[in-house]
Symmetry: C2
Subunit: 509 residues, 2 copies
Amino acid sequence: MNPPDLRIRRVAIDTWRENVAYLHRDCPVVRASGFQALSKVTVHANGTTISAVLNVVDDERIVQACELGLSEDAFARMNVPEGHAAHVAPAEPPASIGALHRKIGGERLSRDDLHAIVRDIAQARYSKIELAAFVVATNGYDLDRDEVLHLTEAMIAAGRRLDWQHQVRGGPVVDKHCIGGIPGNRTSMLVVPIVTAHGMLCPKTSSRAITSPAGTADTMEVLAEVELPFERLTQIVRDTNGCLVWGGRAGLSPADDILISVERPLAIDSPGQMVASILSKKIAAGSTHLVLDIPVGPTAKVRSMPAAQQLRKLFEYVADRLGLHLEVVITDGSQPIGSGIGPVLEARDVMRVLRNDPAAPADLRDKSLRLAGRVIEFDPDVRGGDGWRIARDILESGRALAQMNALIDAQGRRLQPPALGEMTHEVIAPADGAVSAIDNLQLARIARLAGAPQVIGAGVDLLRKQGDAVQAGQPLYRIHACYAADLGFSRDLAARDSGYTVAATTRPS
Amino acid sequence: MNPPDLRIRRVAIDTWRENVAYLHRDCPVVRASGFQALSKVTVHANGTTISAVLNVVDDERIVQACELGLSEDAFARMNVPEGHAAHVAPAEPPASIGALHRKIGGERLSRDDLHAIVRDIAQARYSKIELAAFVVATNGYDLDRDEVLHLTEAMIAAGRRLDWQHQVRGGPVVDKHCIGGIPGNRTSMLVVPIVTAHGMLCPKTSSRAITSPAGTADTMEVLAEVELPFERLTQIVRDTNGCLVWGGRAGLSPADDILISVERPLAIDSPGQMVASILSKKIAAGSTHLVLDIPVGPTAKVRSMPAAQQLRKLFEYVADRLGLHLEVVITDGSQPIGSGIGPVLEARDVMRVLRNDPAAPADLRDKSLRLAGRVIEFDPDVRGGDGWRIARDILESGRALAQMNALIDAQGRRLQPPALGEMTHEVIAPADGAVSAIDNLQLARIARLAGAPQVIGAGVDLLRKQGDAVQAGQPLYRIHACYAADLGFSRDLAARDSGYTVAATTRPS
């Protein structure tokens, strides 16, 4: 007698990249095998096998005893219709669990170990708990540089890889990336129009915000479509030299997308994982030349110049061995860049710079020109040191704005641009003085509680930056929200800690 | 305008000690605040606040937009009726998350840090992912002995504490514990009747199986009730000097129960966590004197004598500082103890020893007498070295059996003892020779797939032990199951690796 088949049922619960199987407590398989909650099981149907974590259910409205419920992720991965027959068995541990345990025990992993782990992660064979164990065991500098190299290689191997060489015929495919952590730092939306206007190929795929109030994809979405099918994306790049789209659909580094799902709630972003995540995605996207921005500051991801140099060398070591031409630029990360934090506000800042509007934030303009200049110098025909001037000419002449409009039209212009949140609250200076510090992390938290990035009109508009004089009662920044609840959460947090330090200015005697 | 109240709904999903909140994607709070899957939220109702992990739901049969679904764990903890008004807010990270991050970074934690972490864990403020991070960051010898001491202290402080001093009036309250890992090792069910027959107080609370095919509580349940209300338990101890019950209801170390929920699926059982878990529960249960069994063998939890000595010293360091009188006994863990593996089979072995049945396994009898003898020597009136002889006399005279029957009757005798699984499969010797090794881990896995411990009649009956001669085709062990599916899973695993090594015996020349 074989175990009876179950009928598959979709359980519309979003378990965030974890396969969950729901079985009723009276299901014969649960009674027979004594599966417990959190047991790992394998589900077989129609030639496909997935592994999943078991949740035991006592409500027939969710699953009946003859059914096998699958969470959204598991149902999508299984790819058979509801009602299809399936059977369930206790799961063997993923093949790479031995390697995970060796890493937890402090051992160095081989190339084969890391490939096996990444393959199992990409195939969704790891539970959330096992992913968390991997993230913690490889935290800090617990991965040496060869382990990081092998992790990066494995992440590339586990996903899809784009190739633009038929288009550039040996020329560079350029990209620019920032390790993150600085609110308002939307330089990609200026660098891409400038360097593609210069004639370089820059097919930029970006992430949405992970822990920040806006990612480049979230901000570009204020202006244009960013979720494009792969064929349209390649057509746009052929027509305009570039794009500014969300990379999540491209399947470039699926293991990394899954790891991020536990790094985010754990707030762990260690050097090895960062290098593997960024470089695997760039290489999979077909880039040959990359300018990488590492901001340094007391509330940035990297807090000191020695730490930045150590991280820089790790990036260089891995990039060199994988044939990626990498230039690292260490920048000032002591405060947010630009004025706006949140998708609509950041898009406003970007368009002001492109329009050469006098209200454009100077720091965003200067930093973007500097980074675009470094990208332009990847052009073999450009003389070393000339990049910045070329970038400035492209911006001041309006060619960058024209190119941005071409990109927006190619991707699909948003006809009704979303409005800024109309519910506002101003945070004021407690005393006379000058702004001496702005806490990146606290401003990001305040903007997120205001609703950013999911509520795209929400965010924070900075009215003062470091060094600006301010009088008691004058506004430091304005919170924008679209819902009263969000304005309340955000205002309460700002009242506990505004994120601004205002120091009394010494009067000239 | 304040966020609207939601109505609480019980979602009958067993999420295994994690609070999960289910909100519909169209719920105003989800739309407003952009909560994401796996966001942490706080739920407030009727003066109670809990934290929970968010799952987003797209099916109104599970929750509607105006409802807040709570998993079984969360609903029980919230303790208000369905339909009660509640509101939800983004959760601040638990206060101790900073300390967790410092531990992940390799720092030493203070007493206050560890108390804060354990308090947050006991209050269910950690997600499964955060628990896994703590378990991995404190793995191996990553906790120094003072950190283990403070972790143990904190675990005791977070739970209930029993006190038997009014009964013993300064005399010892004794216990015996094994660190686990050896199938069939049911010595507690012999030690408790022997030492309580000697007149000592031994209120034994045991766990159910965590990763093994049977715990003492599972095996005792074959014979008697083991889930007793606290008042009945104390009455039984007053009447009979002892008990053999499940400790899970007593709330002795709630943080440990929660940590075990991730240690089990991760298969991590590190020295520091083991010492804190065992000693916190013993001290909370009111024990003053403990004999601790550390089995050593190639497939035991502790693989070498130096490792056993290192672990012994850690146990002694913590026990001494917490005023617990501890004797560590290092034993042979090279193979299972007794013949049966699984609740019904292990109960059979125990009763055979108590009845002085010639079929009783000699190794289980000998080891139990040795441990009982050490416990008896805690009695100030017993001369050093006399314990074993006293224990043997109690066993051989039938007084141990009479005492076991008294304990069973007091707890509630099971009138229809559960039967052994009738579906069987014999695993046979592949060649002539002698059994040279038995793999504890593999035999435990085979017994678990047969259904043990949830299916209490399931398990493995060992017909040969190390050193026994065997001919090709003769049985090594017999698998018992109650369901065909289980017999199949178990038989398949045994076919891949039987767990037995049969070495050719050299013929005398």
